[in-house]
């Protein structure tokens, strides 16, 4: 039996077409994705807004204002970048800097803060919002002090006490990365390419599907033994291909799959099993020639991956909002979501739901394959 298995493995790894699509194509595509997306995340990094503040000795709060503005950060994290890059300038220099786009505008500090900008935009709007907020706060404090001058100490304490009632919370320990879904869909595609291995595994033992199958069927060998050998060999070779892809993604392209490597390997194995068993079932159910089945499976795989967001994340969103049930039928989505949940969520419920779905589908496909191939005689060859 081991001999048959080993020969089968040899057969599979010498099949150039399958090796290309399973081993090389996903790696090439992943590299292209990496090259295309490498600047995408860096472009999303926040840069401090360069703003000028005119020295105004007549306004007593100028110094406090500059200090306040310079100290604001983009988040509460101590390491977070500053929101504003404040430059204290004379008016002429500020105008010159604005003209040369060194600053996006300048502020003239006074009772009613005066902001001068060259054009409107997000950064200008942020500065304007800050100034409005600052003016409002200053006015409120002044009003409170005027109304209740004896309680000035408490008022100042309240102002310094910054109560936050809403808090950002990431469900996993990982920061959001919009490009990851592409790589997860790519893995799903590579896993579903296992269907090609499943196709040949069955075709080669069915007398009505191939000449080699006819020759094997006349040998004194139990068909289920051969089926087991062929499927095991297909799974071994395909899973190896997926592990190589994962190793490449993790070690060369530095794609993050979360911290638990065991679960990553488990997802890869179950996904590979899903792909191989899907192909085996299609091969067992149809009497059409192998090329026809290859074309059908290519189309099914690509469409499945398209719906899971391989070509555009928007498609995945549309499916999720408009046809949510499709997500639980689409094998590529289930695979993608398994990796996605592994990376983003701290709890494993969603991950195990996906793993459970994949195992269930694989089991169903395998039972159908068994029922179709256990037939010993054929109506026609």
């Amino acid at each position: 039996m081991l001999k048959l298995y080993m020969t089968r493995v040899k057969c599979l790894i010498r099949n150039k077409s399958n090796v290309f699509w399973t081993f090389l194509f996903p790696i090439v595509l992943a590299t292209l994705f990496h090259l295309a997306f490498s600047n995408l995340n860096s472009s999303e990094v926040f840069h401090s807004i360069p703003i000028g503040v005119i020295e105004n000795n007549e306004y007593e709060n100028t110094e406090i204002f500059i200090e306040t503005m310079s100290s604001i950060k983009t988040s509460e994290n101590q390491k977070a970048p500053k929101l504003f890059e404040v430059s204290v300038l004379e008016k002429e220099k500020a105008e010159e800097a604005l003209k040369e786009d060194k600053i996006i505008g300048y502020i003239y500090p006074k009772e009613d803060m005066e902001l001068t900008v060259k054009e409107s935009g997000i950064e200008q709007t942020i500065v304007k919002s800050f100034l409005d907020g600052y003016s409002r706060s200053v006015n409120t404090v002044q009003s409170l002090i005027e109304l209740n001058p004896q309680n000035i100490e408490n008022i100042l304490e309240d102002i310094q006490e910054n109560n936050a009632y809403l808090e950002d919370y990431l469900q996993g320990g990982s920061s959001p990365d919009t490009t990851l879904n592409f790589f997860y869909s790519l893995i799903a595609m590579a896993c579903l390419f296992g269907c090609f291995w499943g196709l040949t595994a069955i075709t080669d033992i069915q007398a009505n599907l191939s000449l080699v199958g006819a020759r094997i069927n006349i040998a004194p060998m139990k068909k289920m033994k051969l089926l087991f050998c062929n499927i095991s060999a297909a799974l071994t070779v395909h899973f190896t291909g997926i592990l190589l892809l994962m190793a490449y993604l993790m070690n060369v392209l530095k794609i993050n799959f979360g911290d638990d490597l065991n679960f990553v390997v488990l997802s890869s194995f179950v996904s590979s099993l899903l792909g191989v068993s899907l192909g085996a079932m299609v091969s067992a159910l149809s009497n059409k020639d192998l090329n026809f089945k290859y074309n059908i499976m290519s189309a099914v795989t690509m469409f499945s991956c398209f719906l899971s967001g391989l070509m555009s994340v928007q498609v995945k969103y549309i499916v999720a909002t408009r046809v949510p049930l499709l997500q639980y039928i689409n094998p590529a989505h289930i695979i993608t979501d398994a990796f996605y949940s592994l990376y983003y969520y701290e709890t494993k419920e969603r991950f195990f739901l996906n793993i459970g779905l994949m195992i269930s589908y694989s089991l169903a496909f395998s039972i159908i394959t068994y029922m179709s191939t256990r037939r010993k005689k054929y109506a026609s060859i």
């Binding site: 048959l4 020969t7 080699v212 020759r215 006349i218 004194p220 054929y378």
Partner: protein, 310 residues
């Protein structure tokens, strides 16, 4: 008896492929199944091998009913299909070894039998070649080696010489004879009557799924009225002279085409002498003279009214 087929019926939807077929194949013989394409030869073979479901009848191989689970019987059968059935991804050696290992468990025995099979089909120089690098004739030889490596007692060859060059064909036919001499019973299907005549001990002529004639080649030829065919190169012949020749004793038919006079006669003495005498008596010049015994094609033609290659 090696194979015993009784009343076999096989339909493909409305098409009756095998029609109440009966055959008994004896141990040690080369048994030919001769018939045109679509006559039911391959279907019969696939039924014997328990690959095809059939509608009626029974098949016994080595005196036991043949079924897909008859592993002991299958161990002693070797099949060479009409088309080459090997793995493209395995070399010549690996292919033969793989198929042999489906029959033989002992590793050393598999190795020994594989080498013997390679030597038998003279593929020693090609053991590391992949099938895609082999010529048609070499591929056929590989196909044969894969079918016989495990030394079967019954070898079934389903038109193994289709689209094979004459040199390779002769080599294949010699090989079949050798296998038979070594003790194997052979079932050989073909639509080439020359091959059947050349190697088969007994022949069943099949048409439309039925055995229409069965026996040795001599017995088959004895079944028909034609005993001899005489062809003479004649440069001119009148219609009345043709009529005269047709009326000579034992003449069955006369045809004059392209300066060649063809006469078919029943068995008898002096058939050639009486025709040549007629030509000389009427001062009709002639050159080349050929005489032929009837062929299996004549047998088929007389029984079915069509030639084997129709």
């Amino acid at each position: 008896m090696i194979v015993n087929i009784n009343n076999l019926v096989k339909r493909y939807d409305d098409v009756l492929a095998v029609d109440h077929l009966n055959l008994q194949i004896q141990e040690g013989e080369i048994f030919g199944l001769l018939g045109p394409n679509g006559s039911g030869k391959s279907t019969t073979i696939n039924c014997i091998l328990a690959l095809l479901e059939y509608d009626k009848g029974s098949i016994e191989v080595f005196n036991e009913e043949m079924s897909p689970e008859s592993y002991d019987i299958k161990r002693d059968i070797g099949v060479i299909f009409q088309q080459v059935a090997v793995f493209e991804e395995l070399t010549v050696y690996e292919n033969i070894k793989y198929f042999c290992s489906l029959y033989v468990k002992d590793k050393n025995e598999v190795k020994r039998l594989t080498e013997q099979a390679i030597s038998f089909v003279s593929l020693e120089d090609y053991v590391k070649f992949f099938p895609s690098k082999l010529s048609g004739g070499l591929l056929r030889r590989l196909n044969i080696a894969c079918g016989i490596a495990h030394k079967p007692k019954l070898i079934i060859l389903d038109e193994p010489t289709v689209a094979v060059d004459p040199q390779s064909r002769n080599k294949i036919l010699e090989g079949i004879k050798k296998l038979n001499e070594d003790g194997a019973t052979v079932i050989y299907t073909t639509h080439y009557m020359e091959e059947a005549e050349q190697i088969c001990d007994r022949i069943a002529i099949i048409d439309k799924g039925k055995v229409i004639a069965l026996g040795t080649k001599e017995e088959l030829k004895a079944m028909i009225s034609i005993g001899e065919k005489i062809t003479i190169e004649v440069f001119s012949l009148e219609q009345n002279q043709l009529k005269d020749i047709k009326e000579l004793p034992r003449v069955l038919s006369v045809e004059y085409k392209g300066n060649f006079l063809s006469v078919k006669l029943t068995k008898g003495k002096n058939n050639l002498f009486q025709i040549l005498s007629y030509l000389m008596d009427h001062e009709i010049p002639f050159q080349q003279v050929f005489t032929e015994q009837p062929t299996l094609n004549d047998v088929f033609l007389e029984i079915t009214g069509k030639t084997l290659r129709d």
